[in-house]
Symmetry: C2
Subunit: 307 residues, 2 copies
């Protein structure tokens, strides 16, 4: 038992300049689980769904090695629902509707069988809920990674500051890094954020790739240049799943290995955006992942004559 | 005699969120020459200045191995002048004032002594003026690289389309690539632009790095994450100088070597933005350049366990 994933499992309704989805399955923990399970199994899932969440989606995850013991099913309630519309650049979006439903009073419980897990991935949720999972762990995980968003910086900053003191790696996007640090330069933002607790920081920049910071070290990962970004929903969560999945698989939390984990996360995210929702994540297999990672090697590899 | 550089040598007045410059020396060919001469000498310069252009600036370039035989000095006229103001993101700027002066009727002349040059770098200028240099070359250069900007797409598109048919490499930024191709996706934009003539395309994305395209190949170079971008003026020209300088030095125009040239260009540009105008470019030496290139290697290098 190696990796715990915490987060929402939900419904999304998505509009992009290229089309509009029905109500489809989404949620941070759904994307993280589909992505991480390509690399490590089991994925010990902690989440909550309503009676409306499709059993076949749960079965599909279970078949992929996702342990659902920690997923609460509230038969009489409805799953979390989010509707949003992306702008042309696909980096910005408007929330059209949010129905908290089962998430409103979510109290995650870590099953006994999960207690040995070495890696803890806290997907985007209320910081106090994320913190309650950390506090339930009887043994501190080898690595705790947290994803969050601007919404919590605006509505629950004291909770966020508290949980940040107990995590090793923070994943956020560039505008969130600027908001959290009140610094425009991402180098300065990283320095400020690492004073808040996390020793490692990943700043996701969408089509512009991702930056990994630790002390005075920095690593830049590209995004794969794509002909079309069909649906960016869940790209950040899919990245998180690839990142933590690779670290849990290799059990090496050095900066050097985190660089590779950022590449694996970027590779997984590049699949996710190719189709609506989790469609693409369900299609790919290990050989797709390997060949995509090879594309990333070609993308950045160069030989230079210095003399 | 190996490299010809064509472009403006001028005065700039720059406002950024961090400060305001006096009237300082700038111009595309000035930046390109300072950058390229770190890698290859002589740089055979073609430009035009007025009687107001400081002799000590010309002397400093000459001392760096820049051949000024092709630089016309029009004693009774004034040099080109541009004033601009950068926004907070440093990727967008407003032009406050443009005085064409000597550029208004610039007719470049390629000196006989330049005719053997194998590499031709056409810095940003009116496309018809760029084209006149190509037509004066008695032997087609091994490689012709052209830089341009949105202004010419709006005011001289037929001329630009004509000159593009005669160049090997086009350097533009991301918004210009979108404008030139009428495509939002940079992968699609690149495909359209390479149909217009250039077999290679470099799309510069400022703090997000640069992309190199050729046929179905793509390479991504990072920008160095900087604590502060002090003045982005000339960063694109400095990139161009490093790019063509490395190619002229190595005399290898394969895609593989162009990847390295993009890294060298990125390294040179990362110096340029550290101080106002050409200040930083005058300070650095070969060992600074080498250590900066090593930083780029560390920035993107990773080892991944695929099995």
């Amino acid at each position: 038992m190696s990796l715990i994933v915490v987060g929402s499992m939900a419904f999304d309704q998505i509009e992009t300049p290229f089309g509009k989805s029905d109500r489809i399955v989404g949620g941070a923990a759904t994307y993280i689980a589909w992505s991480a399970s390509q690399l490590v199994q089991p994925v010990n899932q902690i989440s909550v769904v309503g009676g409306d969440f499709p059993q076949e989606e749960l079965d599909a995850l279970a078949a992929r090695g996702v342990n659902l013991e920690g997923v609460q099913v509230k038969k009489d309630q409805r799953s979390f629902f989010w509707a949003g519309r992306y702008h042309m650049d696909m980096n910005s979006r408007d929330t059209l509707e949010t129905q908290l439903n089962v998430l409103a009073d979510f109290e995650p419980v870590v099953p006994d069988s999960y207690q040995d897990s070495e890696f803890l991935m806290l997907g985007n949720l209320a910081p106090a809920v994320q913190h309650s999972v950390i506090r339930q762990m009887r043994r501190k995980p080898k690595l705790t990674v947290l994803d969050t968003m601007n919404f919590w910086m605006e509505s629950a900053m004291p909770d966020l500051e508290r949980v940040l003191q107990d995590v090793d790696v923070l994943l956020i996007n560039d505008s969130e890094a600027r908001q959290l640090s009140a610094q425009y330069s991402l180098v300065r933002a990283a320095r400020e954020i690492m004073k808040m607790g996390p020793k490692y920081l990943v700043i996701k920049k969408g089509e512009h790739g991702a930056l990994l910071f630790h002390e005075d070290l920095v690593f830049v990962a590209p995004a794969l240049p794509l002909e079309e970004v069909f649906d960016p929903t869940g790209a950040g969560d899919t990245f998180a799943g690839g990142f933590i999945g690779y670290l849990a698989r290799t059990r090496d939390i050095s900066f050097e290995n985190m660089k590779s984990a950022v590449i694996v996360g970027s590779a997984m995210a590049s699949f996710s955006v190719e189709k609506f929702g989790t469609t693409r994540m369900k299609e790919i297999d290990k050989s797709d992942v390997e060949s995509r990672i090879r594309q990333f090697i070609d993308l950045v590899n160069f030989e230079i004559q210095l003399t």
